[in-house]
């Protein structure tokens, strides 16, 4: 009996040891999984023309591109769950078919209210190294930019608290956040990071002009004439703000007053910096994909490219902060001939990239 008891005690003891060992090794496995989990890195694929001529894309150290992060960001970008009444997604005003803008002057938010500025197209943002986003540059990262439309009362008119709640209660999102960031606890910061990752993949560099530069295609004589006008300081002089064949973003990504109004009503950058010398300054948009991004200017005032060209040719208006590069303002502009205008327009359209609109990786996954 005594002996049996001892044996029993021994068995209990051995079992306890086994359990402890089992538990502890189980624990360490779990810990390892948590510590070692990293989503799959997915660096941007940089098109040849951008790789050859520009510095590498800027990726913030705290938000590396990953397969799972991009997939989550894409799903969020197209999901109306972000808006106050589940009717609008980012993609409502940033449609793939319009190079991620829309075709209205002012986009209409969930309450039927119009904004005051034209929706900006989205592409090649990872090369915007100054990191000033929006027409007035008020957001200092893509991540910061992505937070704003959700809560803007004339846009998606929601609260992030509400969005995070909806996402957390969703049947799929917690697991998608877990895969992207290693946590099922959703925050607005993680949502913005995922959206920013997706937006950085929106790269456009496959226009006829790109192919011409790569020796893979040719341009018409009219398009080539138009490029000469673009590069001619006495005619178009577009290149000082809008790039050139060796600066293929086709924007300087900085801020200018381009002579739209005698009286500045929208201060633009001046509202952000508080510096009256910045009043009426707006970010130069890229000239890529103009074929799909009408209307034009920060307030979408020009419905057609002809109107834009006419503005620079004879419509310039003086105001105190006008950029000195708008040099012919005293004559209203550079007064291009009709033939020059037509050639310039043909060149500008050669910067549009139809493959960008239909890239399957950029479409609604939902």
């Amino acid at each position: 009996m005594v002996c049996k008891l001892k044996q029993f005690q021994f068995l209990i003891g051995a079992l306890a040891v086994l359990i402890v060992v089992g538990c502890s090794s189980n624990d360490s496995t779990l810990e390892e999984v948590t510590e070692q989990y990293t989503p799959t890195p997915k660096p941007l694929t940089v098109p040849t023309i951008l790789e050859r001529l520009l510095p590498p894309p800027f990726i913030p150290a705290d938000n590396p591109q990953t397969e799972e992060g991009i997939a989550l960001g894409r799903k969020l970008f197209f999901d109306p769950i972000l808006s106050g009444n589940n009717t609008q997604a980012c993609a409502s005003c940033h449609k793939p078919a319009n190079a991620f803008t829309d075709n209205t002057r002012f986009s209409v938010g969930i309450d039927g209210l119009e904004g005051e500025r034209n929706s900006m197209p989205i592409f090649n943002l990872a090369w915007n190294r100054d990191n000033h986003f929006f027409w007035d540059g008020r957001a200092l990262s893509i991540e910061a930019q992505a937070l704003e439309p959700v809560t803007n009362p004339v846009e998606m008119h929601n609260t992030w608290e509400n969005v995070v709640g909806s996402l957390q209660d969703h049947s799929k999102y917690p697991e998608l956040f877990n895969k992207a960031f290693g946590t099922k606890t959703i925050t607005k910061e993680l949502a913005a990071k995922a959206i920013a990752q997706f937006e950085r993949t929106l790269i456009s560099a496959n226009s006829p002009f790109d192919k011409y530069l790569l020796g893979e295609g040719s341009l018409t004589q009219q398009e080539l004439n138009g490029f000469d006008i673009f590069m001619d300081e006495a005619r178009g002089d577009c290149f000082h703000c809008h790039g050139n064949e060796n600066s293929p973003l086709w924007t300087d990504n900085i801020f200018h007053n381009n002579g739209l109004d005698a009286i500045i009503t929208d201060k633009g950058l001046g509202n952000v910096t508080g510096d009256p010398n910045d009043d009426g300054l707006f970010k130069s948009p890229s000239l890529r994909n103009l074929a799909y991004t009408a209307p034009y200017m920060h307030d979408g005032r020009f419905a057609t490219l002809d109107e834009v060209i006419n503005h620079y040719s004879e419509g310039l208006v003086y105001s105190r902060t006008i950029d000195p590069l708008m040099k012919a303002v005293s004559r209203g502009g550079v007064h291009l001939s009709e033939a020059d205008k037509a050639d310039l327009k043909a060149f500008l359209l050669s910067l549009s990239d139809p493959s960008f609109l239909t890239n399957p990786n950029f479409q609604d996954p939902n």
Binding site: R52, L53, L54, P55, W127, R129, D228, M231, D232, E233, A234, F239, H240, C241, G243, N244, E245, N246, S247, P248, L249, D252, N277, Y318, T321, I322, D323, P324, L325, M326, K327, A328, V329, S330
Partner: protein, 278 residues
């Protein structure tokens, strides 16, 4: 025998000692193990030790001696030699091939070029990768813009990104300077000026180099990490030898051969070497 052996040992030791006592030959050299030219055999330090130090190039701007900085952009009025009242909105310029000349005939070459942008404080200093060697120096040379070999269209990604390119039909490569601003014309009306400089176009397809190679004689001694100031007197662009009246030439200057060459002439007195602090 044993005694003899002991004596011999004593003698040997004694001889050895007396040899040791002879004054050693003097070996001159640098005795600091932290120096570049440490001589472990040296027993007399001859003051020849040399060290690697870091150089910083500081680019400053002034108008006839009055400092000009970002806060002056669009704000401060300057009167140029021709009597034009001007405000500057943007000032960017390129400096390359900075070389420090040593007294022994060798040089310290910095490989970096620097695009100075008055509105970007970090562009006002350059920290070259190459270090400098302590010792006597006799001069500093640099290129305003790019020399012909360096001025290659599209070759520099950061300059492409800065939209700094000079049009191909004007000779290509890069701008050397962009100074944009406004001046009051003879009628007192605000007019723009675009004082842009780069390769000069003589005629279609014929171009002339337009950079400026500066060679300043200056004796200085480097003993420590040093900051070397390169100064730009902006007023000189409008002054010497060509008095530049913006009423005559303010815009469309890039393709204007005479304007490009006059800028180059005036550029000769724009730059100088300022303080060398360490």
């Amino acid at each position: 025998m044993k005694i003899n052996a002991i004596l011999l040992l004593i003698m040997l030791v004694t001889i050895g000692c007396s040899t040791n006592d002879d004054p050693p030959a003097e070996v001159l050299g640098c005795m600091d193990a932290n120096s570049l030219n440490y001589n472990s055999a040296a027993n007399t330090d001859d003051g020849s030790c040399i060290y690697e130090k870091n150089a910083t190039i500081l680019f400053t701007q002034n108008w006839s001696g009055n400092p000009v900085a970002e806060a002056d952009l669009n704000t401060t009025e300057f009167l140029n030699e021709a009597g034009n009242l001007i405000k500057i909105s943007r000032l960017r310029y390129l400096i390359s091939r900075i070389v420090l000349k040593k007294a022994d005939g060798t040089t310290v070459n910095f490989d970096e070029y620097n695009l100075v942008d008055l509105s970007n404080v970090s562009s006002l200093t350059l920290s070259p990768a190459n270090s400098i060697i302590t010792g006597e120096y006799t001069g500093i040379t640099f290129i305003y813009g790019f020399n012909e070999a360096d001025n290659i269209s599209g070759a520099y990604r950061d300059l492409n990104d800065a939209d700094w390119n000079w049009p191909t039909n004007l000779g290509g490569g890069y701008h050397f300077m962009q100074m944009d601003g406004k001046f009051e014309d003879v009628a007192g009306i605000s007019q723009p000026f675009n004082f842009h400089n780069g390769t000069a176009r003589v005629s279609d397809g014929v171009f002339e180099q337009n950079f400026i190679a500066f060679n300043f004689d200056k004796n200085f001694t480097i003993t420590d990490d040093a900051t070397i100031e390169i100064k730009m007197d902006i007023s000189e662009w409008f002054k010497n030898p060509v008095t530049w009246d913006l009423n005559d030439r303010s815009t469309n200057l890039m393709m204007n051969y005479g304007a490009q060459k006059d800028m180059q002439k005036n550029g000769g007195s724009v730059f100088s070497i300022g303080d060398i602090s360490q």
